[in-house]
Symmetry: C2
Subunit: 330 residues, 2 copies
């Protein structure tokens, strides 16, 4: 008589792990960025049932309680780390005589931001996304002035502090000091600077005339190719034996989070979620080859760009959401 | 005297949920695709401690046991669904008198593939990725013949069956029967066809002369723009009130998983992980605008394309890995 599926599952004999979510970043401040490792709550196992191979994939379920606060008093809480208003805890079930339950369920990492500002609350709130099409004329009329405002009134001082060695000098990984060609590569705050498969760095160029992708023209292609080469070689030389050149992925954001041209360089194994998704990120290699085949004098300012925006973003609120409302009027 | 962080955490008073991973796809077969919802194991809460606002972010931890099989016998197992060799279970802690522990830890979704083939084992195994640069000449010399082989010997029969209404007719969401202009849009197997924020569809074009992105030329731009418009309008009309046109994201893969041109159309809220990452996916809107600014007669065959490949893939094993080994020889 055939076994039931439940009986089969109980007869699963473990052989080896096929794949597992990394434990990183349990101790990092990555949680402050709402940027999760997609693979971190699952495990794929190879085993057998009778004489047949079997693959078992286990994936943690969602929280099924809405208000967790009454539970906190009955659970074990240990502080992992603390930085200003950010506190990181590991919260787990009370020690049980039945060790198997504990091992299977483990617990949760809890981040407490206290006191929290309205900006924190907005950042961690659900946000609906919209696809938008930014034509060259919308860029000229609405986005360029917005970018200019975002570059004014000292808002980029933190960038200039890095570029002039007034701040974060000890964090520099790779540097090319040439004012026209060069850049400074720093670890992103998301990275613990140890786990190479989670490597996340950012190269800020010395040139101050490129606010975003939109300012790149055909004549910048050769410069960008050199910058990409220097980033990749620089990281490879800085971490010998830990990462190879073809394990480094370079991309840019449009819209970026600040308007001084910068390049994200990450380990290709890094599953970056929204930050690496099409509609937000563009692969630097493809940006360069796209520039190379453009006609003389052309650049990204001449292209229609499609991307997604949060409904809470200034650009949706101030530009695209308004256009949409107008277009929908009779 | 100031409270300790642990004391503060225990004093957290719940106000409302800011954001929560969706429960989808607990009952879907999405797990067979190793494609996880990044947001499904965390919850962001707003509350207060004394009179200050506080944000609490809880995130399930990874499995800390390698061999789960000894645990299975002591846990509650319920079969959720079954299809051929695929079995889906919900595994949870034994009912405890302490309901809070149960609510906090919940359990895991377990997929059992039994019997499993070597292809299943490879699919669920960890794979190292490499960034590669495919020049126009590598494309002509190595990739084009590879694609031709992948299109031969009936390998696309399942696609032609869909296009000729010989199969999956009842699953069609949108159809434009024109042989030169048209396409058939179907739900992807990843989608449960109910949860709109997880909408995942695929449009297969009727044209048989486009194997991949590489075959698109400037003169295809207008056709693609019409196809995109029809996909977006078609989905909007099929699901009135459930999804808006600017909530639909269209993209293509390079390399694709099969070599008959097709477009992925998903809900913009769908966090697609690797399948939507730069280096694998290209946003259709940007592909179109890139074609539009190309010179007459040019196309994606004339571009250098950068993307990532798994080391187990045929193209890494057969082409790029070999080139790399040769380049590294003295």
């Amino acid at each position: 008589m055939a076994s039931t599926p439940e009986e089969n599952l109980k007869r699963f004999t473990f052989e080896r792990i096929l794949n597992q979510g990394t434990l990183f970043p349990l101790l990092s401040i990555e949680t402050t960025y709402n940027h999760l490792d997609t693979r971190s709550k699952s495990i794929n196992l190879l085993g057998h049932i009778s004489r047949s191979a079997a693959v078992l994939i286990a994936e943690k379920t969602c929280f099924d309680a809405k208000d967790l606060s009454p539970l906190l008093s009955s659970l074990q809480i240990s502080l992992l780390d603390k930085n200003d208003i950010y506190h990181w805890f590991l919260v787990s079930s009370l020690p049980s005589n039945d060790a198997s339950i504990f091992a299977f369920t483990t617990g949760a990492k809890v981040t407490l931001i206290y006191p929290a500002t309205p900006q924190h609350i907005a950042k961690y709130s659900q946000q609906s996304l919209r696809m938008i099409v930014e034509t060259p004329s919308i860029y000229e009329k609405h986005i360029k002035p917005y970018i200019a405002a975002k570059r004014g009134e000292g808002r980029l001082n933190w960038v200039y502090n890095i570029l002039t060695h007034a701040a974060e000098t000890d964090r520099i990984i790779v540097e090319d000091p040439d004012p026209a060609e060069g850049f400074i590569l720093l670890p992103d705050l998301k990275w613990d600077r140890k786990t190479m498969s989670a490597m996340y760095t950012m190269a800020i160029v010395h040139r101050r005339d490129v606010a975003s992708l939109r300012d790149l023209t055909k004549q910048d292609a050769a410069w960008l190719r050199r910058v990409q080469q220097k980033i990749v070689e620089g990281i490879y030389e800085k971490y010998p034996g830990e990462v190879e050149e073809d394990q480094i992925k370079c991309y840019v954001h449009y819209q970026p989070s600040y308007y001084h041209f910068h390049i994200h360089a990450v380990h290709v194994a890094h599953d970056g979620g929204e930050g690496q998704a099409v509609g937000r990120a563009l692969l630097l290699g493809n940006v360069i080859s796209q520039l190379e085949v453009m006609e003389e004098g052309k650049g990204f300012k001449d292209l229609e760009l499609t991307y997604f925006l949060g409904e809470e973003s200034e650009l949706w609120q101030g530009v695209f959401g308004k256009t949409k409302s107008r277009a929908m009027r009779p």
